[in-house]
Amino acid sequence: MAGADMAQRLVQLLTDQRDAFVEQWVDTVVRSLRGRITEAELRRELTELYGAVLEALASGGLAPRAEHFAEVRSLLVELSRNRARQGFSPTETAISVFSLKEVLEPVLSGENDDIRAYLQFSRLLDDLGLFTVEEHGRTREEIISVQAEQLLELSTPVVKLWDGVVGVPLVGTLDSARTQVVMEKLLQSLIDSNSTHAIIDITGVPAVDTQVAQHLLKTVVAARMMGAECTISGIRPQIAQTIVTLGIEFGDIPTKATLSDALRHALAQRAAAGQAGGLL
């Protein structure tokens, strides 16, 4: 039996018992997902998918990555995306596809041709199943990268500590991307709040290596160019010793052990300069 005949046989089988198959398919999947998705929604999804598979088989045979399977693939993309967003695992996503095999299995007549057709169909479903897993993974990665960006925004607040003094409490790893965000936010808030002093607090930064130090220095230099003074606070004993051993020099940038020291320093400087106003 040639490929085309096999596809024909499958189409016939799938068309004849369409309603029964869809019903069984929905049943199997619903059980595996344990009620975390409504049956009506699942039925809509699977009926649509079933129709698309049938159409693809009828129009062009069994090559799952070929052009005529485009409709099926786009339905699967949608399905995987929804599942990934709802927190289903890759297995729970792929099972929607794989369980169609189970549905078809009991109706086999036992003839060689039927078995061969079934094997072909099962290979097709394997491929489509893998496709959903891939798509599931891709969606998860997208979600993670969006969250990472949100975290980046969240984790760099600039707070007003006093009239003319803003503070940036840094928590976590300071890499190039984050420093960029910190620098932009700090410089903008100096203008917005009309401040002359900024305090960068690194109590929450676990390790200060040369890259972190370089990023900090650049931020301070940028703030100075705008006429603001920067203090780095939150230097713990172990960090101080490490920075000295590394050989990093902060030059004339004032550094303090605690945020309160830094604030006192900033206020004293403002008082000494007789500054009542701000940058503007």
Binding site: A207, D209, T210, Q211, Q238, T245, L246
Partner: protein
């Protein structure tokens, strides 16, 4: 010391390819440093040294691997870390270990600073043959 001292704990191996792996490396080393009961200052020094070396592996070595374990040598306990890459290598080791010299855009303190932060430091490299850096920090 380029090989793990006999009697040490099993070696963990992890790929250091992207800059995110530097964070991973730091976390692994911090855990090992805590396990071997290094003081807080020594923990921070070792983690910072590992951070410098891991970043060098990514930026200059084009990615490589980190192997690390709790080292035991007689009564001494410490952390043994080795970074290996197959990158372009370092043509002049002495120059590379000079404070303030960088072939890139860094401060030029990473490699020389890392050497000061640990107790044992071994750098092997030749142009075109990749680089292997091995460091040990012992509990005092």
């Amino acid at each position: 010391m380029t090989s793990v001292p006999v009697g040490s704990d099993p070696v963990q191996e992890v790929g250091i390819v992207a800059s995110g792996d530097v964070v991973k490396a730091r976390q692994i080393i911090r855990t090992l440093a805590q396990q071997s009961r290094l003081s807080l200052v020594d923990q921070t020094k070792l983690v910072t040294a590992a951070s410098e070396l891991a970043r060098n592996t990514v930026v200059y070595g084009g990615g490589g691997t980190m192997r690390a374990c709790v080292a035991r040598d007689g009564a001494k306990v410490g952390v043994w870390v080795q970074f290996t890459d197959q990158g372009q290598g370092i043509p002049d080791l002495e120059l590379a270990l000079t404070d303030g010299w960088s072939s890139g855009k860094g401060m030029g303190l990473g490699l020389s600073g890392a050497r000061r932060l640990v107790d044992e430091f071994d750098l092997r490299s030749a142009a075109g043959e990749g680089t292997t850096v091995t460091v040990v920090k012992w509990v005092r």
